[in-house]
Symmetry: C2
Protein backbone atom coordinates (compact mmCIF):
# COMPACT_ATOMS: atom_id res chain seq x y z
CA UNK A 1 0.00 0.00 0.00
CA UNK A 2 1.25 3.47 -0.93
CA UNK A 3 1.46 5.93 1.90
CA UNK A 4 0.68 9.61 1.74
CA UNK A 5 3.44 12.23 1.75
CA UNK A 6 2.59 15.86 2.43
CA UNK A 7 4.67 18.28 0.39
CA UNK A 8 3.15 21.66 1.30
CA UNK A 9 0.80 23.08 3.93
CA UNK A 10 -0.79 26.53 3.75
CA UNK A 11 -3.94 28.10 5.17
CA UNK A 12 -6.00 30.85 3.54
CA UNK A 13 -9.33 32.26 4.69
CA UNK A 14 -10.03 29.37 7.04
CA UNK A 15 -9.20 26.65 4.51
CA UNK A 16 -6.10 24.51 5.03
CA UNK A 17 -4.55 23.30 1.76
CA UNK A 18 -2.11 20.42 1.84
CA UNK A 19 -0.37 19.14 -1.26
CA UNK A 20 0.45 15.46 -1.16
CA UNK A 21 1.57 12.53 -3.25
CA UNK A 22 0.40 8.92 -3.07
CA UNK A 23 2.50 6.48 -5.10
CA UNK A 24 3.89 9.41 -7.09
CA UNK A 25 0.44 10.81 -7.97
CA UNK A 26 0.09 14.46 -6.89
CA UNK A 27 -3.00 15.47 -4.99
CA UNK A 28 -4.40 18.20 -2.79
CA UNK A 29 -6.36 17.95 0.45
CA UNK A 30 -8.48 20.90 1.56
CA UNK A 31 -9.70 20.89 5.17
CA UNK A 32 -11.26 23.22 7.73
CA UNK A 33 -8.54 25.27 9.43
CA UNK A 34 -9.98 24.65 12.85
CA UNK A 35 -9.99 21.36 14.64
CA UNK A 36 -8.90 17.80 14.10
CA UNK A 37 -12.46 16.52 14.54
CA UNK A 38 -13.30 13.77 12.14
CA UNK A 39 -15.34 14.92 9.18
CA UNK A 40 -16.67 13.35 5.97
CA UNK A 41 -14.43 13.29 2.91
CA UNK A 42 -15.44 14.31 -0.61
CA UNK A 43 -13.18 13.02 -3.37
CA UNK A 44 -13.41 15.10 -6.52
CA UNK A 45 -12.37 14.46 -10.12
CA UNK A 46 -11.36 17.32 -12.42
CA UNK A 47 -12.40 17.80 -16.03
CA UNK A 48 -10.42 16.91 -19.14
CA UNK A 49 -7.46 19.18 -19.93
CA UNK A 50 -7.60 20.52 -16.40
CA UNK A 51 -5.85 19.78 -13.09
CA UNK A 52 -6.34 19.25 -9.36
CA UNK A 53 -6.18 22.94 -8.43
CA UNK A 54 -8.21 24.38 -11.31
CA UNK A 55 -10.63 27.16 -10.34
CA UNK A 56 -13.59 24.75 -10.50
CA UNK A 57 -11.89 22.36 -8.06
CA UNK A 58 -10.71 25.06 -5.66
CA UNK A 59 -14.09 26.81 -5.78
CA UNK A 60 -16.10 23.67 -5.05
CA UNK A 61 -13.67 22.69 -2.32
CA UNK A 62 -14.05 26.05 -0.64
CA UNK A 63 -17.85 25.69 -0.61
CA UNK A 64 -17.64 22.16 0.84
CA UNK A 65 -15.01 23.03 3.46
CA UNK A 66 -16.40 26.33 4.67
CA UNK A 67 -20.06 25.40 4.18
CA UNK A 68 -20.02 21.91 5.70
CA UNK A 69 -16.68 21.37 7.40
CA UNK A 70 -15.84 18.52 5.03
CA UNK A 71 -12.42 17.38 3.84
CA UNK A 72 -12.02 17.53 0.05
CA UNK A 73 -9.34 15.84 -2.02
CA UNK A 74 -8.47 15.79 -5.73
CA UNK A 75 -5.67 14.06 -7.59
CA UNK A 76 -4.29 14.90 -11.01
CA UNK A 77 -5.67 12.51 -13.61
CA UNK A 78 -3.12 10.56 -15.70
CA UNK A 79 -1.49 12.85 -18.26
CA UNK A 80 -2.94 15.93 -16.52
CA UNK A 81 -1.62 18.65 -14.20
CA UNK A 82 1.89 17.86 -12.97
CA UNK A 83 1.88 14.37 -14.45
CA UNK A 84 3.74 13.40 -17.64
CA UNK A 85 1.91 12.52 -20.82
CA UNK A 86 2.58 9.18 -22.48
CA UNK A 87 2.92 8.97 -26.27
CA UNK A 88 -0.62 7.56 -26.28
CA UNK A 89 -1.85 10.64 -24.36
CA UNK A 90 -0.13 12.93 -26.88
CA UNK A 91 -1.65 11.03 -29.77
CA UNK A 92 -5.20 11.14 -28.41
CA UNK A 93 -4.97 14.82 -27.47
CA UNK A 94 -3.67 15.64 -30.96
CA UNK A 95 -6.54 13.66 -32.45
CA UNK A 96 -9.06 15.55 -30.30
CA UNK A 97 -7.64 18.92 -31.34
CA UNK A 98 -7.63 17.83 -34.98
CA UNK A 99 -11.30 16.78 -34.80
CA UNK A 100 -12.24 20.01 -33.02
CA UNK A 101 -10.44 22.15 -35.63
CA UNK A 102 -12.12 20.19 -38.43
CA UNK A 103 -15.55 20.65 -36.86
CA UNK A 104 -15.94 16.89 -36.42
CA UNK A 105 -17.75 15.38 -33.40
CA UNK A 106 -15.55 15.19 -30.30
CA UNK A 107 -17.63 12.50 -28.65
CA UNK A 108 -16.06 9.34 -30.05
CA UNK A 109 -12.54 10.50 -29.17
CA UNK A 110 -13.44 11.82 -25.70
CA UNK A 111 -15.37 8.64 -24.85
CA UNK A 112 -12.50 6.40 -25.95
CA UNK A 113 -9.70 8.43 -24.36
CA UNK A 114 -11.54 9.01 -21.07
CA UNK A 115 -12.27 5.28 -20.78
CA UNK A 116 -8.55 4.67 -21.16
CA UNK A 117 -7.71 7.31 -18.54
CA UNK A 118 -10.28 5.83 -16.16
CA UNK A 119 -8.55 2.44 -16.31
CA UNK A 120 -5.38 4.12 -15.11
CA UNK A 121 -7.06 6.47 -12.63
CA UNK A 122 -9.40 4.12 -10.73
CA UNK A 123 -6.60 2.25 -8.90
CA UNK A 124 -5.01 5.62 -8.11
CA UNK A 125 -8.26 6.93 -6.59
CA UNK A 126 -8.61 3.76 -4.53
CA UNK A 127 -5.01 4.01 -3.28
CA UNK A 128 -5.51 7.69 -2.48
CA UNK A 129 -8.62 6.89 -0.47
CA UNK A 130 -6.74 4.12 1.38
CA UNK A 131 -4.02 6.60 2.31
CA UNK A 132 -6.38 9.47 3.24
CA UNK A 133 -8.34 7.18 5.56
CA UNK A 134 -5.09 6.62 7.49
CA UNK A 135 -5.22 10.26 8.58
CA UNK A 136 -6.77 10.64 12.05
CA UNK A 137 -8.97 13.55 10.94
CA UNK A 138 -10.57 11.36 8.22
CA UNK A 139 -10.44 7.73 9.40
CA UNK A 140 -12.38 4.78 8.04
CA UNK A 141 -15.68 5.35 9.85
CA UNK A 142 -16.98 8.53 8.25
CA UNK A 143 -18.87 8.76 4.96
CA UNK A 144 -17.05 9.38 1.68
CA UNK A 145 -18.58 11.14 -1.33
CA UNK A 146 -17.48 11.62 -4.92
CA UNK A 147 -18.01 14.73 -7.07
CA UNK A 148 -16.85 14.93 -10.68
CA UNK A 149 -18.31 16.14 -13.99
CA UNK A 150 -17.08 15.59 -17.56
CA UNK A 151 -13.88 13.50 -17.32
CA UNK A 152 -14.52 13.47 -13.57
CA UNK A 153 -17.60 11.39 -14.35
CA UNK A 154 -15.75 9.14 -16.82
CA UNK A 155 -13.33 8.28 -14.00
CA UNK A 156 -15.84 8.54 -11.16
CA UNK A 157 -18.48 6.10 -12.43
CA UNK A 158 -16.05 3.14 -12.67
CA UNK A 159 -14.43 4.23 -9.40
CA UNK A 160 -17.73 4.39 -7.52
CA UNK A 161 -18.91 1.11 -9.12
CA UNK A 162 -15.72 -0.54 -7.82
CA UNK A 163 -15.41 1.01 -4.37
CA UNK A 164 -18.14 0.37 -1.77
CA UNK A 165 -16.77 3.10 0.50
CA UNK A 166 -18.42 5.83 -1.60
CA UNK A 167 -21.95 6.46 -0.31
CA UNK A 168 -23.17 9.47 -2.34
CA UNK A 169 -22.00 11.00 -5.64
CA UNK A 170 -22.50 13.92 -8.01
CA UNK A 171 -21.88 13.11 -11.67
CA UNK A 172 -22.75 14.60 -15.03
CA UNK A 173 -21.89 15.85 -18.50
CA UNK A 174 -20.81 12.62 -20.17
CA UNK A 175 -21.84 10.14 -22.82
CA UNK A 176 -23.29 6.79 -21.69
CA UNK A 177 -21.29 4.57 -24.07
CA UNK A 178 -18.56 3.36 -21.71
CA UNK A 179 -20.44 4.14 -18.47
CA UNK A 180 -24.06 2.96 -18.63
CA UNK A 181 -23.29 -0.69 -17.80
CA UNK A 182 -21.25 0.42 -14.78
CA UNK A 183 -23.95 2.90 -13.72
CA UNK A 184 -26.39 -0.03 -13.57
CA UNK A 185 -24.27 -1.43 -10.73
CA UNK A 186 -24.46 1.80 -8.71
CA UNK A 187 -27.20 2.08 -6.07
CA UNK A 188 -26.02 4.98 -3.87
CA UNK A 189 -27.80 8.37 -3.97
CA UNK A 190 -26.84 10.28 -7.11
CA UNK A 191 -27.18 13.85 -8.30
CA UNK A 192 -26.63 14.08 -12.07
CA UNK A 193 -26.00 17.34 -13.95
CA UNK A 194 -26.49 17.83 -17.67
CA UNK A 195 -26.89 20.66 -20.15
CA UNK A 196 -30.20 20.70 -22.01
CA UNK A 197 -28.66 22.25 -25.14
CA UNK A 198 -25.29 20.47 -25.05
CA UNK A 199 -23.69 20.73 -28.50
CA UNK A 200 -21.44 17.71 -27.87
CA UNK A 201 -23.55 15.28 -25.85
CA UNK A 202 -26.96 14.60 -27.43
CA UNK A 203 -29.83 15.15 -24.98
CA UNK A 204 -30.95 11.55 -25.30
CA UNK A 205 -27.44 10.33 -24.47
CA UNK A 206 -27.21 12.39 -21.31
CA UNK A 207 -30.66 11.27 -20.19
CA UNK A 208 -29.74 7.64 -20.95
CA UNK A 209 -26.75 7.80 -18.61
CA UNK A 210 -28.89 9.29 -15.81
CA UNK A 211 -31.50 6.61 -16.46
CA UNK A 212 -28.92 3.82 -16.17
CA UNK A 213 -28.10 4.37 -12.48
CA UNK A 214 -29.80 1.75 -10.30
CA UNK A 215 -30.03 4.21 -7.39
CA UNK A 216 -33.39 4.43 -5.66
CA UNK A 217 -32.59 8.07 -4.91
CA UNK A 218 -31.33 9.91 -7.95
CA UNK A 219 -31.93 13.45 -9.12
CA UNK A 220 -31.32 14.96 -12.53
CA UNK A 221 -30.45 18.64 -12.76
CA UNK A 222 -30.76 19.69 -16.40
CA UNK A 223 -30.04 23.33 -17.20
CA UNK A 224 -30.70 25.29 -20.35
CA UNK A 225 -27.47 26.12 -22.13
CA UNK A 226 -24.52 24.66 -23.97
CA UNK A 227 -21.86 22.17 -22.85
CA UNK A 228 -19.66 24.64 -20.96
CA UNK A 229 -22.51 26.73 -19.53
CA UNK A 230 -23.36 24.71 -16.42
CA UNK A 231 -24.56 27.38 -13.96
CA UNK A 232 -22.38 28.08 -10.98
CA UNK A 233 -25.30 27.40 -8.63
CA UNK A 234 -24.94 23.69 -9.39
CA UNK A 235 -21.83 23.75 -7.18
CA UNK A 236 -24.04 25.04 -4.36
CA UNK A 237 -26.61 22.34 -5.14
CA UNK A 238 -23.90 19.68 -4.85
CA UNK A 239 -22.92 21.08 -1.46
CA UNK A 240 -26.56 20.86 -0.31
CA UNK A 241 -26.71 17.29 -1.65
CA UNK A 242 -23.68 16.15 0.35
CA UNK A 243 -24.80 18.10 3.41
CA UNK A 244 -28.18 16.37 3.28
CA UNK A 245 -26.67 12.89 3.01
CA UNK A 246 -23.81 13.37 5.40
CA UNK A 247 -25.78 15.19 8.07
CA UNK A 248 -24.14 18.60 7.94
CA UNK A 249 -25.72 22.00 7.53
CA UNK A 250 -24.66 24.05 4.54
CA UNK B 1 -61.10 46.19 -8.71
CA UNK B 2 -61.75 43.87 -5.78
CA UNK B 3 -60.18 44.88 -2.48
CA UNK B 4 -58.71 42.61 0.12
CA UNK B 5 -60.53 41.86 3.38
CA UNK B 6 -58.66 40.27 6.25
CA UNK B 7 -60.76 37.80 8.22
CA UNK B 8 -58.24 36.36 10.71
CA UNK B 9 -54.78 37.17 12.01
CA UNK B 10 -52.65 34.79 14.08
CA UNK B 11 -48.92 34.37 14.64
CA UNK B 12 -47.14 31.07 15.36
CA UNK B 13 -43.39 30.46 15.63
CA UNK B 14 -42.49 33.74 13.98
CA UNK B 15 -44.91 33.35 11.05
CA UNK B 16 -47.92 35.66 10.80
CA UNK B 17 -50.91 34.03 9.09
CA UNK B 18 -53.71 36.23 7.78
CA UNK B 19 -56.82 34.81 6.15
CA UNK B 20 -58.35 37.06 3.55
CA UNK B 21 -60.87 37.21 0.77
CA UNK B 22 -60.63 39.01 -2.57
CA UNK B 23 -63.85 39.17 -4.52
CA UNK B 24 -65.21 36.32 -2.43
CA UNK B 25 -62.23 34.03 -3.06
CA UNK B 26 -60.63 32.86 0.21
CA UNK B 27 -56.88 33.11 0.55
CA UNK B 28 -54.11 33.11 3.11
CA UNK B 29 -51.10 35.40 3.46
CA UNK B 30 -48.10 34.24 5.46
CA UNK B 31 -45.53 36.89 6.45
CA UNK B 32 -42.56 37.34 8.76
CA UNK B 33 -43.76 38.27 12.24
CA UNK B 34 -41.21 41.01 12.58
CA UNK B 35 -41.24 44.23 10.67
CA UNK B 36 -43.24 45.96 7.99
CA UNK B 37 -40.23 46.14 5.67
CA UNK B 38 -41.15 45.49 2.10
CA UNK B 39 -40.30 42.00 0.96
CA UNK B 40 -40.82 39.92 -2.19
CA UNK B 41 -44.09 38.00 -2.60
CA UNK B 42 -44.39 34.37 -3.65
CA UNK B 43 -47.83 33.35 -4.92
CA UNK B 44 -48.44 29.63 -4.64
CA UNK B 45 -50.98 27.29 -6.23
CA UNK B 46 -52.15 24.14 -4.47
CA UNK B 47 -52.60 20.70 -6.01
CA UNK B 48 -55.83 19.12 -7.21
CA UNK B 49 -58.24 17.98 -4.49
CA UNK B 50 -56.35 20.08 -1.99
CA UNK B 51 -56.70 23.57 -0.51
CA UNK B 52 -54.85 26.76 0.42
CA UNK B 53 -53.73 25.57 3.86
CA UNK B 54 -52.82 21.99 3.02
CA UNK B 55 -49.62 20.71 4.68
CA UNK B 56 -47.65 21.17 1.45
CA UNK B 57 -48.71 24.84 1.22
CA UNK B 58 -48.12 25.61 4.90
CA UNK B 59 -44.78 23.78 4.88
CA UNK B 60 -43.45 25.57 1.80
CA UNK B 61 -44.70 28.89 3.15
CA UNK B 62 -42.88 28.37 6.43
CA UNK B 63 -39.61 27.70 4.59
CA UNK B 64 -40.03 30.80 2.42
CA UNK B 65 -41.06 33.08 5.29
CA UNK B 66 -38.55 31.95 7.91
CA UNK B 67 -35.74 31.19 5.44
CA UNK B 68 -35.97 34.29 3.26
CA UNK B 69 -38.35 36.76 4.90
CA UNK B 70 -40.76 36.58 1.95
CA UNK B 71 -44.51 37.04 1.93
CA UNK B 72 -46.38 33.98 0.64
CA UNK B 73 -50.01 33.84 -0.51
CA UNK B 74 -52.30 31.06 -1.73
CA UNK B 75 -55.94 31.16 -2.77
CA UNK B 76 -58.35 28.25 -2.94
CA UNK B 77 -58.79 27.10 -6.54
CA UNK B 78 -62.34 27.06 -7.94
CA UNK B 79 -64.29 24.15 -6.49
CA UNK B 80 -61.59 23.57 -3.86
CA UNK B 81 -61.16 24.28 -0.14
CA UNK B 82 -63.91 26.53 1.17
CA UNK B 83 -65.35 27.20 -2.29
CA UNK B 84 -68.51 25.60 -3.66
CA UNK B 85 -68.44 23.05 -6.44
CA UNK B 86 -70.46 23.66 -9.58
CA UNK B 87 -72.40 20.78 -11.18
CA UNK B 88 -69.59 20.70 -13.77
CA UNK B 89 -67.00 20.31 -10.98
CA UNK B 90 -68.99 17.44 -9.46
CA UNK B 91 -69.29 15.76 -12.84
CA UNK B 92 -65.59 15.97 -13.63
CA UNK B 93 -64.55 14.80 -10.16
CA UNK B 94 -66.93 11.84 -10.42
CA UNK B 95 -65.48 11.02 -13.82
CA UNK B 96 -61.93 11.17 -12.41
CA UNK B 97 -62.81 8.84 -9.54
CA UNK B 98 -64.57 6.47 -11.93
CA UNK B 99 -61.52 6.32 -14.23
CA UNK B 100 -59.21 5.83 -11.26
CA UNK B 101 -61.33 2.97 -9.89
CA UNK B 102 -61.47 1.37 -13.31
CA UNK B 103 -57.69 1.59 -13.70
CA UNK B 104 -58.05 3.87 -16.72
CA UNK B 105 -55.59 6.69 -17.43
CA UNK B 106 -56.30 9.82 -15.39
CA UNK B 107 -54.39 12.11 -17.73
CA UNK B 108 -57.11 13.03 -20.23
CA UNK B 109 -59.57 13.96 -17.47
CA UNK B 110 -57.06 15.84 -15.35
CA UNK B 111 -55.75 17.78 -18.34
CA UNK B 112 -59.25 18.77 -19.44
CA UNK B 113 -60.59 19.62 -15.99
CA UNK B 114 -57.49 21.53 -14.90
CA UNK B 115 -57.61 23.61 -18.09
CA UNK B 116 -61.18 24.51 -17.21
CA UNK B 117 -60.22 25.41 -13.64
CA UNK B 118 -57.32 27.53 -14.91
CA UNK B 119 -59.70 29.63 -17.01
CA UNK B 120 -61.61 30.45 -13.83
CA UNK B 121 -58.55 30.81 -11.59
CA UNK B 122 -56.27 33.04 -13.66
CA UNK B 123 -58.41 36.19 -13.27
CA UNK B 124 -58.70 35.39 -9.55
CA UNK B 125 -54.91 35.16 -9.18
CA UNK B 126 -54.50 38.44 -11.05
CA UNK B 127 -57.09 40.17 -8.85
CA UNK B 128 -55.46 38.73 -5.72
CA UNK B 129 -52.08 40.06 -6.81
CA UNK B 130 -53.62 43.48 -7.52
CA UNK B 131 -55.05 43.55 -4.00
CA UNK B 132 -51.94 42.22 -2.25
CA UNK B 133 -49.80 44.86 -3.95
CA UNK B 134 -51.98 47.49 -2.26
CA UNK B 135 -50.54 46.39 1.09
CA UNK B 136 -47.67 48.63 2.22
CA UNK B 137 -45.50 45.64 3.18
CA UNK B 138 -45.75 44.26 -0.37
CA UNK B 139 -46.22 47.16 -2.76
CA UNK B 140 -45.75 47.22 -6.51
CA UNK B 141 -41.97 47.59 -6.64
CA UNK B 142 -40.75 44.27 -5.27
CA UNK B 143 -40.39 41.04 -7.22
CA UNK B 144 -43.19 38.48 -7.35
CA UNK B 145 -42.66 34.74 -7.80
CA UNK B 146 -45.00 31.83 -8.46
CA UNK B 147 -44.68 28.29 -7.07
CA UNK B 148 -47.15 25.53 -7.93
CA UNK B 149 -46.94 21.86 -8.93
CA UNK B 150 -49.63 19.55 -10.37
CA UNK B 151 -52.82 21.62 -10.66
CA UNK B 152 -50.72 24.52 -9.37
CA UNK B 153 -48.83 24.29 -12.65
CA UNK B 154 -52.00 23.93 -14.73
CA UNK B 155 -53.17 27.23 -13.26
CA UNK B 156 -49.72 28.79 -12.90
CA UNK B 157 -48.50 28.47 -16.49
CA UNK B 158 -51.44 30.44 -17.99
CA UNK B 159 -51.27 32.89 -15.07
CA UNK B 160 -47.55 33.55 -15.53
CA UNK B 161 -47.93 33.73 -19.32
CA UNK B 162 -50.60 36.42 -18.81
CA UNK B 163 -49.09 38.46 -15.97
CA UNK B 164 -45.78 40.27 -16.53
CA UNK B 165 -45.40 40.96 -12.81
CA UNK B 166 -44.16 37.41 -12.16
CA UNK B 167 -40.38 37.29 -12.55
CA UNK B 168 -39.43 33.72 -11.47
CA UNK B 169 -41.45 30.52 -11.13
CA UNK B 170 -41.31 26.91 -9.97
CA UNK B 171 -43.55 24.52 -11.90
CA UNK B 172 -43.82 20.79 -12.45
CA UNK B 173 -45.71 17.51 -12.54
CA UNK B 174 -48.10 18.15 -15.39
CA UNK B 175 -48.88 17.10 -18.93
CA UNK B 176 -47.91 19.46 -21.80
CA UNK B 177 -51.17 19.20 -23.75
CA UNK B 178 -52.89 22.41 -22.62
CA UNK B 179 -49.72 24.17 -21.40
CA UNK B 180 -46.88 23.82 -23.91
CA UNK B 181 -48.07 26.62 -26.20
CA UNK B 182 -48.37 28.96 -23.20
CA UNK B 183 -44.97 27.85 -21.87
CA UNK B 184 -43.45 28.96 -25.18
CA UNK B 185 -44.48 32.53 -24.26
CA UNK B 186 -42.72 32.40 -20.87
CA UNK B 187 -39.17 33.73 -20.67
CA UNK B 188 -38.61 34.24 -16.93
CA UNK B 189 -36.28 31.91 -14.95
CA UNK B 190 -37.97 28.57 -14.31
CA UNK B 191 -37.33 25.60 -12.05
CA UNK B 192 -39.31 22.56 -13.22
CA UNK B 193 -39.87 19.44 -11.11
CA UNK B 194 -40.87 16.04 -12.47
CA UNK B 195 -40.86 12.42 -11.36
CA UNK B 196 -38.70 10.11 -13.49
CA UNK B 197 -40.98 7.10 -12.90
CA UNK B 198 -44.33 8.93 -12.93
CA UNK B 199 -47.10 6.38 -13.49
CA UNK B 200 -49.54 9.04 -14.75
CA UNK B 201 -47.40 11.49 -16.74
CA UNK B 202 -45.22 9.76 -19.35
CA UNK B 203 -41.56 10.77 -19.05
CA UNK B 204 -41.53 12.18 -22.57
CA UNK B 205 -44.59 14.33 -21.77
CA UNK B 206 -42.99 15.83 -18.68
CA UNK B 207 -39.75 16.53 -20.55
CA UNK B 208 -41.73 18.08 -23.42
CA UNK B 209 -43.36 20.60 -21.10
CA UNK B 210 -39.99 21.57 -19.60
CA UNK B 211 -38.58 21.86 -23.11
CA UNK B 212 -41.38 24.21 -24.17
CA UNK B 213 -40.46 27.09 -21.85
CA UNK B 214 -38.69 29.86 -23.77
CA UNK B 215 -36.71 30.85 -20.67
CA UNK B 216 -32.99 31.36 -21.12
CA UNK B 217 -32.51 30.18 -17.55
CA UNK B 218 -34.46 27.04 -16.81
CA UNK B 219 -33.57 24.04 -14.68
CA UNK B 220 -35.17 20.61 -14.65
CA UNK B 221 -35.16 18.65 -11.40
CA UNK B 222 -36.15 15.06 -12.19
CA UNK B 223 -36.25 12.64 -9.27
CA UNK B 224 -36.50 8.87 -9.28
CA UNK B 225 -39.88 7.74 -8.01
CA UNK B 226 -43.57 7.74 -8.76
CA UNK B 227 -46.05 10.61 -9.21
CA UNK B 228 -46.62 11.33 -5.52
CA UNK B 229 -43.03 10.69 -4.39
CA UNK B 230 -41.48 14.10 -5.08
CA UNK B 231 -38.79 14.38 -2.40
CA UNK B 232 -39.32 16.93 0.31
CA UNK B 233 -35.94 18.50 -0.46
CA UNK B 234 -37.44 19.98 -3.63
CA UNK B 235 -39.25 22.45 -1.38
CA UNK B 236 -35.85 23.53 -0.06
CA UNK B 237 -34.55 23.74 -3.63
CA UNK B 238 -37.43 26.03 -4.54
CA UNK B 239 -36.56 28.27 -1.59
CA UNK B 240 -32.94 28.45 -2.78
CA UNK B 241 -34.20 29.25 -6.30
CA UNK B 242 -36.31 32.20 -5.14
CA UNK B 243 -33.60 33.36 -2.73
CA UNK B 244 -31.09 33.40 -5.59
CA UNK B 245 -33.35 35.39 -7.90
CA UNK B 246 -34.77 37.76 -5.33
CA UNK B 247 -31.48 38.47 -3.58
CA UNK B 248 -32.20 36.95 -0.18
CA UNK B 249 -30.18 34.42 1.78
CA UNK B 250 -31.85 31.13 2.64
Amino acid sequence: MHSLHFTADTTTNGVRERDFTVGGVPGVLWSPESGADRAPLILMGHGGGNHRKSPAMAGRAELLVTGCGFHVAVIDAPGHGDRPRTPHDEQEIAELFRARAAGEPEGPIVVRYNAHLAERAVPEYRATLDALQELPEIGTEGPVGYFGLNMGTAIGVPFVAADPRISAAVFGLHWPDALADLAKQITIPIEFVLQWDDEHIPRESGLALFDAFASKEKTLHANAGKHKETPRFEAHNAVHFFARHFGRTS
